[in-house]
Symmetry: D2
Subunit: 110 residues, 4 copies
Amino acid sequence: MLVEQDQTLIRALQECMIATNHCLNECLAEDESNMMIDCIRLDRECMEFCSNLEQAIIRQSPYAKELAELCLKVCEACAQECQKHDHKHCQYCAEICLQCMEACKTYLKK
Amino acid sequence: MLVEQDQTLIRALQECMIATNHCLNECLAEDESNMMIDCIRLDRECMEFCSNLEQAIIRQSPYAKELAELCLKVCEACAQECQKHDHKHCQYCAEICLQCMEACKTYLKK
Amino acid sequence: MLVEQDQTLIRALQECMIATNHCLNECLAEDESNMMIDCIRLDRECMEFCSNLEQAIIRQSPYAKELAELCLKVCEACAQECQKHDHKHCQYCAEICLQCMEACKTYLKK
Amino acid sequence: MLVEQDQTLIRALQECMIATNHCLNECLAEDESNMMIDCIRLDRECMEFCSNLEQAIIRQSPYAKELAELCLKVCEACAQECQKHDHKHCQYCAEICLQCMEACKTYLKK
């Protein structure tokens, strides 16, 4: 029903939604959570755009690629912000966002 | 297309999504944002359930009433948490959540 | 909390979600519903992108404008398809999609 | 970050979203698509509730179980409708919906 490339991207998006939500929740609980505002906001953005793209791919939307380009951009911004922080959850989230970006790029090439 | 009661509930849900998101953003920026974690989390829950219910009503889902009962419960929890805090955005959010609860109750009676 | 232009676009998106969902439901019930497949699919796409954009505006997402550009494109495709059909619900849906496009354009200029 | 039971349910929900969307698209293309209206509508409901639940689990929402109860009910209705039709996509969709129901039940027991 869905081609392998779609399935691969869906898995990457799901990993990314889990990692960004985890990072968001952990950032909220950090002592200096005020310093984590940008990270929290970008985690939330990233999670929402991944969710929108997941749904578009499942619907086999003719606009999925355009949404994937936007999602890729949001993942990149989230990864860059997370990389600034030493917290384990931020470093992990950055890594998963980079993987999701790669999955978006592969999807866009097909 | 949508009956008046549906339109009324949709407007209440929309107000509630705007108020909870505003409260969430302002809580993140407060000095003692660690103390606002429960408020931030319930704002987010409330916004998501309002969004889910709005979509269900627009779809004319046969399960909209069951979702409205759950949304009502989430609005109530959010209102109760917000009422604990003196911040203007929390007090305002609590008020709007209470109005949304009333809109859900009216919808459930029809 | 939200500026007037955001509120105006939210109202237009909501109208558009209601109209596209109504058109989708009515198309399904038409005698020649096979001929309405493209209309049904674009109604669904349009409704989903309007919903995604509504949430992005409420979140005050830094990516709302880029999503608005994509939503505008989907509304245009939906309006063009609906205009091909004489059904009252298609003609009405086309009209509302055109209004939503205008609201997106105004929002993008700000 | 997410416990194994959450991950298992997320995979089941994803399978179910893919199957219901496939069934919906195929039903639209059937010769007698008018006879498939109930199936199309329930496919759409099922997909939306699975998506709502997936997001709630990823958020680690305190209301995820209540939403899982509702999702279980929608999956059941979709499975029952799909079972009435001989189309391969309907029979497959029914099977996947039943699996998703089991995943919801396991999740609710934890």
